[in-house]
Symmetry: C2
Subunit: 462 residues, 2 copies
C-alpha cells in the first residue's frame, strides 16, 4: 500500500460507538421503539440532510448559524455558490419536525388519520460540545397528527404523548421520584401576562425569558426582567423559588376554588386531568408555570421531562403545534409531539446505576461457545458451528491455537455464553460435552443430533 | 404562526421512509443484525461525518469531488476557509472502513482479538442518483480483524465473511440459484498479468480495467485494452464470455492438474476450499477471474455477490486488506471485510416477490385492537388500553366517534390486529368480548382480569 501511516481523531463532539457503547445505544433505542409500537405508533424516517430552507422556513434565518451545512463536492455550481455566499444548499437535520411536516404535507390526502408516527434518527447541532449536549445525538421523536383539536380526543392525544414518555421511563427503571413530567400552557401564560398588563407585542420576549430562566443566574434574570420592564408582582409570580408548581396527584397547594375546578375536571372524560388519571400517570406529572418551551410554533399544552434533582438538562420536551402542518403546505391538521435525546437520558441512567452491563448485554449473550480439545475436533468445529448458527443460535468459538480446555473455557466465560460445547474424544461417538457456564454443571455427553433441541429448550429459560 | 405556507421536497436521491418503507428497511436491517450477532460479531458505529482527510488518506484527493462536504455554520474560521477554498473540513461518510480503521487503531492495544465487528450506518455519495444507487443508503459492514494472516485461521476468517453473507441471503429467502458469490484473487491476477508479460508499473491500470469491465460496452473495453497495449491472448483470457468461471460445487471445467490440486485442497483443513465445504456454502460460490475489486487496498481474496441473471449492480463486495489498520496508525493487523447496501438488495427482493407485506409487517402486528360499543365503554377504554400496554402488548384503538361496532371491527381488521377486544354492556360484569380477527371466532365474554393471560397464551402462537 502506497499511503503512509497516520492516526486520526473523531471530530469534536461526535461519538465512536465501540461494542459496549453500541449495546447501550441499542438498549435505549429498543425500549423507545418497543413502547412506541405498543402504543400504536408507526416508525418513519427521512433524509439525514434536507434543503437548508426547510429549516429557515420553520425557525427563521438565525438557524443557519446553528447547523452543519452540506454541499456536493461534485457539483460545480454548488461549490461556486458556497464560495460566493459561505452558505450551502443543504443542512444536516438539527431536528426531525420539519421533515415530518414535509412528509405529512406531501401525502396528507392518502395517509389514514390519525397519523401516529415515531422516528429514531440522529441529529446535528453546530454548537460547542458540553455535558449533555453533543454535536451528533440520537433522538426519539413522536408525533400524533390529525385528531380533532376539540373534544375528548384532543386531551387523549396530549395524554397519549405523556403516557408514552412515562412508559419509556418505567421500562428504563425510572420512577416518579426520579423524573418529573412538567406541564405548561403557553396560551395560559400569555393570557396571564396580558392580565398583568403586558403588551401583546412584548409577549414573545416575555416567553423567551421564561423559557431561558432555568439557565440564567438570578442576577441575569433580574436584569433581563428590568430590561423588559416587568413589574415586581410579575417578577415574583415567575420567581423560580416561589412560582406555582402543582403535583397532579396532590393538588392541596391550590386555592379552594381552583381545587374544586380540578376535582370536577377529574370526573369529566376528555379533560386533561381525567385522561391523565385514566392513563395512570398522575404521580409523574405537575403543572409548572415556568414551562413555556422556546419555540413559537407551540399552540397549547407544552411539557418537559426533568430529572427530579434538577442536576441535568431537560430529558425530553414537546407540546401541541396545531398550525405547523399547514405552514408546510399541508391541510390544517392539529398535532402534538415530543423529542427525547439519548445523551441526557444516558447520563441519568448511568448516574442512577440503571445501566448495569447484564441489562444492556442480555440480548447479546451467546447461546454457546464451542471449544475443541484436540486437533481432530478443531477440524470438525467449523461445520458444527455453522450448523448451530443455521438453526438461529448465537455461537462463538475460540481463535486460539491452544488445546488447553481450561484456558478455552475461560475464554468461553468471558464471552458471557450460556453454555460451552466441548468437542473432544466423544466426537468419535458423535457426542459432545455441554457445560452450563452459570451453574458450572456438566452432564453426560449429548448426541450432536440432540444439541439443537437441548439449546432450544434451555434458551427459553435464559 | 407568522410563517407562510410552503411545500418542500426531499433532496434529490434521498429517501423518505413512510411506515411501509420503514418496515421494509427494519426487516432488512434486523436480518443483517441477527445473522451478524449469531456469527459472533459485535455491533459498532461511528460519527456520520468525519474529518475530510480521513477519506483522502485512504482514497487520495480524487475522493473530494465524490463526497458531500460539511462545515459548521457557527464557526467563522470554517466558513471563511470554505469560502476561500471551496473545500470543507468534514465529509459525510461515503464508506465505513476508514472510521473502522481509525477506531481500531485508537484502541488496538486494549481490544480483545480477533476483532469481529459489524455496523449498519447510512452512507452518502455525491453522485447522480440512478437505479440501485442513491445519494444516501444504508450499508451493512462486517470486518474481521486480527486473526493470523497465515495458517488455518486465515482461510477461516475469509470464509467466515462468505458464510455470514450467505446466511443473510438464506434468511431473505434467496437461494444459490438467485445469487452467486464470486471469488477472485487480486494477487493471483497480478501474478498472471506478469506471466503474460505486463510491466509491474502497468498492473494497477490493468486491474482497474478488469474491475470496470462489467460496466463497459464491448467496444469500449476493446479500445481500452488497445490503449493499455494488451496482447490478443490477454484480451481473450479476460473476455467476459470466455473467461474462467468455476463453480466450487462443480469443478469439472478445470484442467486435470488443477482439478487434482483442488481435490487435495478440499481435504486439507485451513485451505479455502476445505473451509468453504465445512461452512456448507460451496454451492453459492464460484471463482471468476474478472473479480478484482476497484480498490487498491485489497491484498488477497476479493469477492462480490451478484444476482444470478446479472440484471442488477453488485449486491455486496469485499475482501482481505491486511495493511489497512497499520496505515491508519495502528499495529499490523490482518483483516477482511465486506459491505452490502440496502438499495440493490431491496430491489432484488422486491423483483423476486420476497418482500410480501405479511413478512415485513409481521413484527408490527398489534396484539389487540380495542373498540367501545357505547359511551360508557368509551370512557373506560383509555384505562384498559393503558393497562394492556403496561403488560407489554401492542394495543391500538379507534379515534372515531362512531359506536357502530361493525365499522370499528372493520378498522380493527385493517390494523392487522390479531384480536379485537369489544367493550360493551358486559363491562358491567367486568368482562369483554374477544374476537379472533383471523378465524372470525368469538367466544364467551372474558373477565378483564383474565385478558392478559389470554393474550399472552395466544400471542405465543401468533
Amino acid at each position: 500500500m502506497a499511503v503512509s501511516s497516520k492516526k486520526f481523531q473523531a471530530p469534536k463532539g461526535m461519538r465512536d460507538f465501540y461494542p459496549q457503547d453500541m449495546a447501550v445505544r441499542r438498549y435505549i433505542e429498543n425500549i423507545w421503539r418497543t413502547v412506541s409500537i405498543n402504543h400504536g405508533f408507526d416508525e418513519v424516517d427521512g433524509p439525514t440532510f434536507e434543503h437548508l430552507d426547510l429549516y429557515t422556513h420553520k425557525s427563521g434565518p438565525g438557524i443557519v448559524s446553528e447547523i452543519f451545512q452540506v454541499f456536493s463536492g461534485k457539483d460545480e455550481a454548488e461549490r461556486a455558490a458556497v464560495q460566493r455566499t459561505a452558505q450551502a444548499p443543504f443542512a444536516l437535520r438539527p431536528e426531525f419536525t420539519p421533515t415530518l411536516a414535509r412528509m405529512v404535507a406531501a401525502q396528507a390526502d392518502s395517509l389514514p388519520k390519525p397519523i401516529k408516527w415515531f422516528a429514531i434518527p440522529t441529529m446535528f447541532r453546530a454548537e460547542r460540545p458540553q455535558r449533555g449536549r453533543l454535536r451528533e445525538h440520537v433522538q426519539w421523536n413522536v408525533d400524533f397528527i390529525g385528531v380533532p383539536s376539540e373534544g375528548m380526543f384532543r386531551a387523549q392525544a396530549d395524554v397519549a404523548m405523556l403516557a408514552l414518555m412515562v412508559a419509556a421511563f418505567e421500562r428504563f427503571g425510572l420512577s416518579a421520584r426520579d423524573v418529573r413530567v412538567k406541564l405548561g400552557d403557553r396560551e395560559a401564560v400569555r393570557r396571564r401576562l396580558k392580565l398583568e398588563g403586558r403588551d401583546q407585542a412584548a409577549l414573545d420576549d416575555d416567553l423567551t425569558l421564561l423559557d431561558e430562566r432555568p439557565k440564567l443566574r438570578p442576577d441575569e434574570y433580574r436584569s433581563r426582567t428590568r430590561q423588559l420592564g416587568w413589574k415586581d408582582a410579575l417578577v415574583r409570580l415567575y420567581d423560580p423559588e416561589t412560582r406555582l408548581v402543582v403535583r397532579l396527584d396532590d393538588m392541596s397547594s391550590l386555592p379552594d376554588r381552583e381545587r374544586q375546578d380540578s376535582e370536577d375536571q377529574r370526573k369529566q372524560a376528555g379533560s386533561l386531568l381525567y385522561e391523565i388519571d385514566q392513563a395512570e400517570i398522575a404521580e409523574w406529572c405537575e403543572f409548572d408555570s415556568l414551562i413555556v418551551r422556546g419555540l413559537a410554533y407551540y399552540t397549547g399544552l407544552v411539557f418537559e421531562a426533568h430529572e427530579a434533582t434538577g442536576a441535568h438538562r431537560a430529558i425530553a420536551g414537546g407540546g401541541r403545534y396545531d398550525n405547523l402542518i399547514e405552514s408546510f403546505g399541508g391541510p390544517s391538521l392539529p398535532a402534538c409531539g415530543f423529542g427525547m435525546g439519548d445523551v441526557v437520558l444516558g447520563n441519568i441512567l448511568h448516574d442512577k446505576g440503571l445501566l448495569p452491563e447484564d441489562v444492556y448485554m442480555a440480548p447479546l449473550r451467546p447461546h454457546a461457545f464451542v471449544v475443541a480439545a484436540d486437533d481432530q475436533a478443531a477440524a470438525q468445529l467449523p461445520k458444527i458451528v455453522a450448523d448451530l448458527r443455521k438453526q438461529g443460535f448465537h455461537v462463538r468459538h475460540s481463535y486460539k491455537t491452544t488445546r488447553n480446555v481450561g484456558k478455552l473455557l475461560g475464554e468461553a466465560g468471558k464471552s458471557r455464553a450460556c453454555f460451552a460445547i466441548i468437542l473432544g474424544k466423544e466426537l468419535a461417538e458423535n457426542k459432545a460435552v455441554v457445560k452450563n457456564l452459570e451453574s458450572g454443571e456438566q452432564g453426560d455427553p449429548i448426541p450432536l443430533m440432540a444439541l439443537v433441541e437441548f439449546l432450544r429448550a434451555q434458551s427459553r429459560r435464559v
